[in-house]
Subunit: 211 residues, 2 copies
DNA sequence: CCTTGACATAGTAATTATTACTAATTATTT
DNA sequence: AAATAATTAGTAATAATTACTATGTCAAGG
């Protein structure tokens, strides 16, 4: 049997998937991981995602769309997929009842699992679709006066489960650490981010709504 | 609005999908269609599969595996996928009940559909897996003494919904028309194929079992 | 009937996501 | 420490699909 070695690269990959709320693709993970391990190769990311999912540490999704996606969530759940922006969210429901429905016998397959994939339009895209007229107009009074940098910082925070430091955010975005902390201060004053611990920031409900 | 022109190529593509029982991939269809339209381009096949599915004449499946698959079946159904040989079969069951289960509200998505994908081992692969020892031995007494050509003819027939002529089969396989009719005669004698009309052949239950 | 313009086509190039390969490096076992 | 095995970065190769381009076809309006 092959021996599995927990290398530094694998730890970072695993940690990065864990930090990420959604179902990231290999290349997105690669972009993020590169910030920490600048010399890592895309092939290493791909290989390890494959191996980690074989070992059962992560889960590989082969869902709609061109790219495979990965997540850390190991308990059974299904997915819902936005036809418009291609984001994927989790959806929890029993799937066992269907397995028991006698269809297994009916068609002769030995069923080992089931994946349910809903598709539709996610809340965010629904919101985007509604107001079609205000495109040419002011465009700023709706979204609580967020500038590009603030939006970028907020978006980065939004995609993470764990609280981040300013440095983390700088690594995820194109911004410098100084720029980030400046935006964080202003966002905090508006109540769009909270700081559960010194130097640690997370997005608030209001922050999510503002996005 | 764009005008949709039913060209000869599109008719042939549509007909070929209709003739095919499974969920063929673009390149498989291309191989088959080339027999009838030797000058058709793979790009044309791809483009038209896309267009035909937009127009609603066929359905595009984005299921597990690398390639997209297409089928003509327009009423709602779900799929089951063999992890081993990658074949895909239909499975009929109600999916509406899940849509009503309140999860729509729960996550804010506007759900427009749902795809359920079971996976497991298909009957054929199960059969292949069982007898592991007889690999070196005679290898012929089990399968009702089918030779390679007969097997090829039978497999071609098996994949079609409509009765085929010998010429059809010759086109699908690597065999000459004369070779095909010779094999058909012998298969008919064994009861593995039936001839519902003069020059038309279809596979029988016994034929499927023999495969 | 002949031109005009939208739609289609074959053939090919380009792209995207992923996998395979290779030589060098690192860890584990003997 | 030497031998062996696993892993890596970097790059080449592959598979499926899409984009591009020049040419061709068809149907309608002058």
């Amino acid at each position: 049997m092959k021996f599995f070695r927990m290398t530094n690269q694998r730890e970072v990959i695993l940690e990065e998937i864990g930090r990420y709320k959604g179902h990231p693709t290999a290349d997105l993970l690669y972009e993020r991981i590169k910030k920490k391990l600048p010399h890592i190769s895309l092939a290493t990311v791909y290989r390890n995602l494959e191996i980690l999912s074989e070992v059962g540490k992560i889960r590989k999704l082969e869902i709609s769309g061109r790219q495979k996606r990965f997540d850390r969530e190991l308990k059974e759940h299904n997915h819902i997929y936005c036809l418009q922006c291609h984001r994927i969210d989790n959806i929890h429901m029993v799937s066992e009842q269907m397995l028991a429905s006698g269809s297994e016998k009916e068609i002769g397959y030995k069923i080992s699992g089931c994946r349910i994939e809903f598709f539709g339009i996610c809340p965010e895209c629904q919101r985007k679709n509604k107001p079609q007229k205000q495109n040419e107009s002011a465009d700023s009074h709706v979204t609580c006066k967020l500038n590009t940098r603030q939006r970028e910082v907020l978006a980065a925070l939004e995609s993470y489960t764990t609280p981040c430091t300013g440095k983390d955010i700088a690594a995820m975005t194109s911004l410098e650490a100084a720029q980030v902390s400046c935006q964080l201060a202003s966002l905090k004053k508006k109540g769009l981010v909270a700081s559960p611990a010194r130097w640690k920031y997370k997005i608030t409900k209001a922050g999510k709504d503002a996005l």
